[in-house]
Amino acid sequence: MIEVQHLTKRYGPTTAVDDVSFSVERGEILGFLGPNGAGKTTTMRVLTGYMPPSEGKAIVAGYDVMEQPIEAKRRTGYLPETPPLYPDMTIREYLTFVARIKGVARAQRKARIDSLMERTRIVDLAHRQCGKLSKGYRQRVGLAQAMMQNPEVLILDEPTAGLDPKQIIETRQLIKDLGGDHTVILSTHILPEVSQTCHRVVIINKGRVVAVDTPDNLTARVGGSETMFVQVDAGGADVKTTLQAIPGVTHVTGGDTPGTVASFEVNSETGRDVRRDLAATIVRQGWGLLEMRPLRMSLEEIFLHLTTEEAAHE
């Protein structure tokens, strides 16, 4: 659905996006992750036809954004970082204007606008001026604008920035619902957002793609060794040494808290599942096994890992 090939964008001497390639399948939600200034917005602006690339090409919904911009734009909805609202227009006037320039047939305009306002929960404010809306509502109007012509591709630049926690959850749910029918690219620098909403992640740093994978695979790939979290009621016995003696266990930390209940982090060799042995050993000692769960490397850690690795290369 979206094909980005060797995309490069330079602003004078600075290179904002450097040889970026990735593709997005139909119905997929792709997360675009990176620190501020990594080139997320620039890439999105090229995809939406707002600006041409310096090199490389982008194909959206089967149309090259440079060769056939009108056809590509007809099939793309775009929510920029700041929702592009006219402060003097009311929400309904604004959406009517958007419907006109996006080619929604006159007969369907009203129904389309009503259903979008319903979906983004702005019906009550239909006659409020856009300039007087709070950040959260501006974002919703922007989202309604992006979905206007029911485009195949939706490109959302930080759709949850500036929203309160309730609105964030609502917006994420809305985006999840859009997946399947629509192909979505969303950018963010909030990591849990990616693991919650996206099928795949592109991590970008300093204009380059650092990794492209599913959130799960990324976790597994960077994890290296496996870590288990264990909580044991051993009545003060020396749990640490016992656990370290289990074959496959490389390292045990924790157990420093006073009292009978102690928590440990048990590292084991990669690919070796020590969970059974761990449980059996603890039970055989007559201790109470209160909790045991795998500790996975969080996306935050992966992100830092990948982006600092990149820096070390230079």
Partner: protein
């Protein structure tokens, strides 16, 4: 075409959603009235003098002595008012980020520029429309010829169109409204006074300078003459400015 109209409609709504539309039309109305009153007194006195025979039997003509000068006077205030109309057109879209909506919607640059131009032209036509009241009043008390009036309005529309298209171009170059307004005003003023030095120059230079003068082409229209020289001047001025605007919007994308 429907895209152009959608943009024009939005622009026009924008003028009247903010105070700018009302201020521009309102002050234009006051100034028109003042000019009209002054010229009417002057015309009245000339008529008395002509009647008393001091200047011979020459009849005074309401078209030549009142309506023609009214158009020329109004053309001066356009120089001040129209840059105020055009300075916000692109600058405002850039500042508020709505330019991203327009440039990522399925519209060509040409459609956006044309829509904005037509929107501004309609506002200007509304402003000009107020003078219909003054001139219409003359028909109730006198007997003016309507043909020079019609060509006069055509000339005014073309000249205003030239001012607006140029202002639109300057607005597309900057994010700052004040800068856009001042540059537009200064350059239009330049075009207005460019032939003042003509009489001191050689014949060829004189002809060129006179041809470039933006207001010099209006005279014949107010006398009822539609000369193709003047038509070509205004139409090509407008077309060239709009072309430059399209190029400027396009180059903005490349520069980022």
């Amino acid at each position: 075409m429907s895209n152009i109209l959608a943009i024009a409609h939005k622009e026009l709504k924008g003028y009247f959603a903010s105070p700018i539309g009302y201020i521009v039309v309102g002050f234009a109305a006051i100034l028109f009235g003042q000019f009209f009153l002054g010229l009417l007194y002057f015309f009245d006195r000339s008529q008395l003098q002509a009647g008393s025979g001091f200047q011979g039997p020459q009849a005074v003509n309401v078209n030549e002595m009142l309506i023609g000068p009214l158009f020329l006077n109004v053309s001066v205030i356009l120089l001040f008012i129209l840059p105020l109309v055009t300075m916000r057109i692109y600058a405002e879209e850039k500042r508020s980020g709505t330019i991203e909506l327009l440039l990522t919607a399925p519209l060509t640059d040409m459609q956006i520029v044309m829509g904005k131009f037509i929107g501004a032209l309609i506002l200007y036509a509304a402003m000009l429309g107020i003078s219909v009241i003054h001139i219409g009043f003359l028909f109730t008390v006198g007997n003016p010829e309507w043909r020079p009036i019609a060509t006069g309005y055509l000339g005014m529309l073309l000249m205003g169109g030239a001012f607006l298209s140029f202002g639109l171009f300057i607005s597309s170059l900057t994010k700052n409204q004040i800068v856009a307004g001042v540059i537009t005003f200064a350059v239009l003023l330049m075009f207005w006074i460019i032939n003042w030095t003509a009489s001191f120059a050689g014949t060829t230079t004189q002809a060129v300078l006179n041809y470039l003068s933006i207001t010099g082409h209006l005279d014949d229209f107010t006398k009822g003459i539609v000369d193709t020289t003047h038509l070509v001047y205004y139409v090509s001025f407008i077309a060239f400015s709009l072309f430059l605007t399209v190029r400027s919007v396009d180059s903005e994308r490349w520069r980022g």
